[in-house]
Every structure is written in structure tokens, then in C-alpha cells.
């Protein structure tokens, strides 16, 4: 798996001058393990970048079961950022990440500014890390997370400090569970982020009618999958005109046409989450659809349609 492009550049996207993806497709954090889980089963070349599950300073075992639940239009999860912690991550995943052909993004979270900064500090030592996605919006942890994602002042301070500690690609993942996502996005941009990714899961819950109990052990969790796509598209359409930095679209993308919707709404790249569960080869399917789409439409680059719906 050498570091060379296999596409003809049709699907190449630039998220920062020095951060170019050969494919606009990434796995959404937490839905693709640490990135290496399917290495024997599917071809990773369709991903322009790999994004790890959220890594925290200390290992986390996550929430009590039930942690997942299928709904008619998607799923609920309350995994609670279960992960092996930054030190084990650095130790165990180096081989895989070093060999991956595309960009390597580590998604990180913390319960206070200090934790975020410490995780960054340890990852800065790994030359096999190309960038960070900052999770400030996980609805499944009691402390930390969510507060950063809903308060633009707190967030601006956090991102500003992270920016001061890394020159690497810095992407901030936004939560949809806010009254005014634009002010949050703008704060993130002003604090020096290179991109925003949106959206993280919506608040969601279900009742297990048989047991007369909430389906998730934690009662409320994160809702993802096809049912959240209209929300993601709406928020991207709202945020796009307010931002100069690129948007990475996430939310219910299952197939090539969904992906096109996100590009047209203003996303420069996309992440696929829940769709991995119903189709582990979804990235390949979308990749091929996009290549054909460009050919059919006679466009030289997928970047040409980014935001066309707003023009």
C-alpha cells in the first residue's frame, strides 16, 4: 500500500493547501474502529483519510449496555467514547497508520482543556499523524464534551489553544443539538480551525415497548443514519455562507446520491458512519458512483459541485 494516488484526480479535494485528499471519503469517527478493523475485508484505498474513533487521555470503558439500538430510520448509540487511551493507541496503531496511504486523522476528546491539550501533545510526537478532529459534541459523556460544543466562547478558547499547539490539519466536529450552529462554526473558524465537520449525532432515544424501558441503558443517546440526513443538509446549507474554511459533511450518507447532495449543499468532503454497518463496502460503492458522476456530468473534479445548490 504505497502512498500514491489510484484515482485520476477527479475526486481529489483540498481541505488546506497542504492537506489534499485523493478521495473525499472518510469514515466517521466511532463507526470504523481505530481504522484497522476491516483491513483484511475491504479495500481501504477508497478512503482519502482514516479517522480514528475518539481517543482520550485515559482509556475509557464506555457506558453500560444497552449501548446500541436500531430504529426505523437509523440507530441510537451511547457508546460513551470507549477507547484504549492515547498511550496504547500510539503504541498499538503505529504500524497500521504508518502504512496507510492517505491522511491520518485522530479524533480526540477530553473533559477539560488540559486533557485535550495533553492528548495533542502526545500525538504531536507521532509523525504518522496528519491531523486532528476535535470532538466537542459527544452526547454520551456526563462531563466535558457537550459543553464545549454548545458554548461558542468556551469553544473558541479551546480551539485557540489547540491551534497554538499544532500546525497540523485541525478540524472541529460540530453538534447539531444547538440553537444557533452558525455562531459556533464562526467561533471555530476564528479560533484558527482548518475545517469543520458536521454533524455529530442528534439527541435521540427509543423505548423498548416489551420491557417498558428506554432501549439504551443511558436513556438518551446519539441518533445517526438516514433519518438525520435532512438535518445535516439543512445545517450545512446554513453554515456554508458564513464560513471561509471547508465543511466536511456527515450524517446519514448511505450511497452516492446522498454524497452528491452533501457536496451540492456545500461539503468539500464527506464522512460515512452508520452506513458501514449495513454495507462494509460503502466507501467503494460511493467512490465508484462519484467517479461515474463526474464522467457523466463532464466535470473535471468533484470540487466543481461543492456548494452549487447555493449559487
Amino acid at each position: 500500500m504505497e502512498k500514491k494516488s489510484f484515482s485520476s484526480g477527479l475526486l481529489r479535494v483540498k481541505l488546506r493547501d497542504d492537506f489534499i485528499l485523493e478521495s473525499p471519503i472518510m469514515p466517521a469517527s466511532g463507526t470504523f474502529g481505530y481504522g484497522d478493523e476491516l483491513v483484511d475485508m475491504i479495500e481501504l484505498k477508497y478512503y482519502g483519510a482514516i479517522i480514528s474513533k475518539t481517543i482520550t487521555l485515559q482509556p475509557r470503558s464506555g457506558n453500560l449496555p444497552e449501548r446500541i439500538c436500531e430504529t426505523s430510520c437509523g440507530m441510537l448509540n451511547s457508546i460513551g467514547l470507549a477507547n484504549i487511551g492515547v498511550d496504547r493507541f500510539v503504541r498499538e496503531k503505529e504500524v497500521f497508520y504508518s502504512n496507510f496511504h492517505g491522511k491520518r486523522i485522530v479524533n480526540i476528546s477530553g473533559s477539560c482543556e488540559g486533557e485535550y491539550l495533553e492528548v495533542i501533545k502526545r500525538l504531536e510526537k507521532c509523525e504518522w499523524v496528519d491531523g486532528y478532529e476535535i470532538n466537542v459534541s459527544c452526547p454520551n459523556v456526563d462531563r466535558g464534551g457537550i459543553a464545549f460544543g454548545t458554548d461558542s466562547h468556551v469553544l473558541r478558547s479551546l480551539i485557540g489553544k489547540i491551534r497554538n499547539n499544532t500546525d497540523r490539519f485541525l478540524m472541529v466536529k460540530l453538534t447539531p443539538n444547538v440553537s444557533d450552529i452558525c455562531s459556533i462554526a464562526v467561533a471555530v473558524q476564528e479560533a484558527g480551525a482548518d475545517a469543520v465537520s458536521m454533524i455529530n449525532t442528534l439527541y435521540g432515544a427509543a423505548i423498548d415497548v416489551e420491557r417498558k424501558k428506554p432501549a439504551l441503558g443511558r436513556v438518551v443517546g446519539g441518533y445517526s443514519g438516514p433519518g438525520i440526513k435532512p438535518v445535516a443538509i439543512a445545517l450545512i446549507l446554513k453554515v456554508k455562507p458564513e464560513l471561509d474554511i471547508p465543511i466536511v459533511g456527515i450524517g446519514g450518507i448511505c450511497n452516492g446520491e446522498d454524497a452528491i447532495e452533501f457536496f451540492m449543499a456545500g461539503a468539500s468532503a464527506i464522512q460515512i458512519g452508520t452506513a458501514h454497518f449495513s454495507n462494509p463496502a460503502v466507501a467503494k460503492d460511493i467512490y465508484n458512483y462519484l467517479v461515474n458522476y463526474c464522467a457523466k456530468e463532464g466535470i473535471s473534479s468533484i470540487e466543481k459541485i461543492v456548494g452549487v445548490a447555493l449559487r
Binding site: 500500500m1 466511532g30 463507526t31 470504523f32 474502529g33 484497522d36 478493523e37 476491516l38 483491513v39 483484511d40 475485508m41 475491504i42 474513533k53 470503558s61 464506555g62 449496555p65 444497552e66 449501548r67 446500541i68 439500538c69 436500531e70 430504529t71 426505523s72 437509523g74 440507530m75 448509540n77 457508546i79 470507549a82 498499538e92 504500524v95 497500521f96 502504512n99 443514519g225 438516514p226 452508520t274 458501514h276 454497518f277 449495513s278 454495507n279 462494509p280 463496502a281
Partner: protein, 268 residues
């Protein structure tokens, strides 16, 4: 060594595939219980009893089913019970239909022939499925073999092929011993010569009791667990079970670390 081989060596012991398969057979063999034979379009990797496959059917999550038997390099069998949307849909699929599958997934049962004087399989309801496959694999083993199979009533009975001691229980007594399969196990197990290894699969209550019995007589026990799974392949961290590791309680993934676990380490 290719990268994927390197990685696999590092963390993934088995080869797995995501591919199309043709339904070769889909027959009702007991009340709401079907036997399905699947022919993957290309060779299906080697598998072990206790491993499972994902079937990609309706909705968001695929559905996990234990491999219940293999025929050569490609074909395999599953047994399933119709209990909801996906199994309903599955039961309506015709011979010749094509579905997506992934597998073999997870870790299977382990048996070290030399260490035991007997192997005891304990299955409740559709939990017999992976034990059928194990039973096939134990065919040439010299140790004693016992298959305890329990069902609600005689309409649900499915029995394994092959020789050996098959001990049947039904809760309503309509066939075999009257009572649960662990009641029967408890009565019989004292008669067998130690050391035994028990393999159990079925509802949570059954597994818990089987572990208690194993503990009492100091036998080894492996149990195949079920939890709701979103991915079945270690992507989502959704399928956890509490496990007593050396360092204390921790979560393990049923899909990847299991579904077969040392029964004595599981915290029910």
C-alpha cells in the same frame, strides 16, 4: 508480508470476507425454525464452530447467525428462528436468491482433545445451531461426547446429525426429559468421568446455570453469547459484555472477542 497480513497478525486471527451468497436451501424444519444453506460466490474462508456470519437483510443492522455446519470450501448452513422483521424476511426468500453476507466473524470454540475425557454440548432452543457445527467437528475426537438439547416443546426440536449421545429435554415434557436442558445436565453430569469441557449456547438464564454447574464440578466451560450487534466486526463497540479480566472488570466485544468466552469470566 503484505500490510494486511501484518495487521492481521497483530490483531485479527482469522480471515473474513464480505460477499454475495446464493441461497441453496431454505426449509422449515421445526416450528418457526428454518435451515438455510448458503453458497458464497467465491471461496469462503475457513471457519470454526462458534463463529458466525452477518446477513445483510432489511434495515440498518445486519443480523448475526451462527455457522451451523460447513460443506467443503464454500457452502455453509445456518439454523434460524423467525422472531422479527429480518428473520421473517429471511424465511420468505426463495432458493436462488442472492444476499450479502460477511464472515466468518468472531472467535469460535476451542477444544484440546488431549486434556479432557469428555465434551459436553448444551444447547437451548435455537442455541443448538453452533453446537451442530461443533458436533460435526468433534466427530473424530476420541473423548466421550454428549449433546444436551433442550426445547420448549416437541414442535421445536431440531437434532444434530451424526453419532453420539444425544440427550433431549422439553419444558413441557412432550419429548424426552421433562424440564430444562440444564436441569437434565445437572442430573446427568455427575455420571460422566472428569475432566469435562462444557460448551453451551442458548438464553442467558441457561448459560448462567450451566456456568454454575461447571463451577460446582470444576469443569471448564465455554459459552457462546448473544447481544444486539450493529456491525458484528468490531467497528462500533456496541455489543459489550462484562468480563472479569486479570486487571478487574472490563467490557469485551461479543462480536470480536467472542461470541465464545470462557464461561467463568463472564459477569451476568
Amino acid at each position: 508480508m503484505s500490510m494486511s497480513e501484518k495487521i492481521r497478525q497483530n490483531s485479527l486471527p482469522e480471515e473474513r470476507k464480505f460477499l454475495d451468497a446464493i441461497i441453496e436451501r431454505n426449509e422449515c424444519i421445526a416450528s418457526e425454525t428454518y435451515e438455510m444453506v448458503l453458497l458464497p460466490e467465491i471461496d469462503f474462508p475457513p471457519s470454526k464452530p462458534g463463529q458466525f456470519v452477518n446477513l445483510y437483510l432489511k434495515g440498518i443492522f445486519p443480523r448475526p447467525f451462527s455457522i451451523a455446519g460447513r460443506y467443503g470450501e464454500k457452502e455453509f448452513k445456518i439454523l434460524y428462528k423467525v422472531i422479527g422483521k429480518n428473520t421473517e424476511y429471511l424465511s420468505g426468500l426463495q432458493k436462488g436468491s442472492r444476499i450479502k453476507i460477511a464472515g466468518p466473524l468472531g472467535h469460535g470454540f476451542e477444544w484440546k482433545e488431549k486434556e479432557y475425557s469428555g465434551f459436553v454440548l448444551v444447547g437451548g432452543g435455537i442455541g443448538v445451531a453452533p453446537l451442530f457445527y461443533l458436533w460435526d467437528n468433534l466427530k473424530n475426537v476420541e473423548a466421550k461426547k454428549y449433546f444436551f438439547a433442550g426445547f420448549k416443546n416437541s414442535s421445536e426440536i431440531v437434532e444434530p446429525d451424526g453419532l453420539g449421545n444425544i440427550l433431549l429435554a422439553t419444558e413441557d415434557g412432550s419429548a424426552g426429559y421433562k424440564g430444562t436442558v440444564v436441569d437434565l445436565l445437572e442430573e446427568e453430569i455427575e455420571k460422566f468421568s472428569s475432566p469435562l469441557k462444557i460448551f453451551a449456547c442458548g438464553p442467558g438464564g441457561l448459560l448462567k446455570k450451566a456456568v454454575t454447574i461447571a463451577n460446582r464440578f470444576n469443569h471448564d466451560i465455554e459459552i457462546a453469547l448473544e447481544t444486539v450487534m450493529a456491525c458484528g466486526m468490531g467497528l462500533c463497540q456496541g455489543c459489550v459484555v462484562k468480563y472479569m479480566a486479570e486487571e478487574g472488570e472490563e467490557f469485551r466485544l461479543v462480536c470480536k472477542d467472542g461470541p465464545v468466552f470462557d464461561g467463568k469470566k463472564i459477569i451476568f
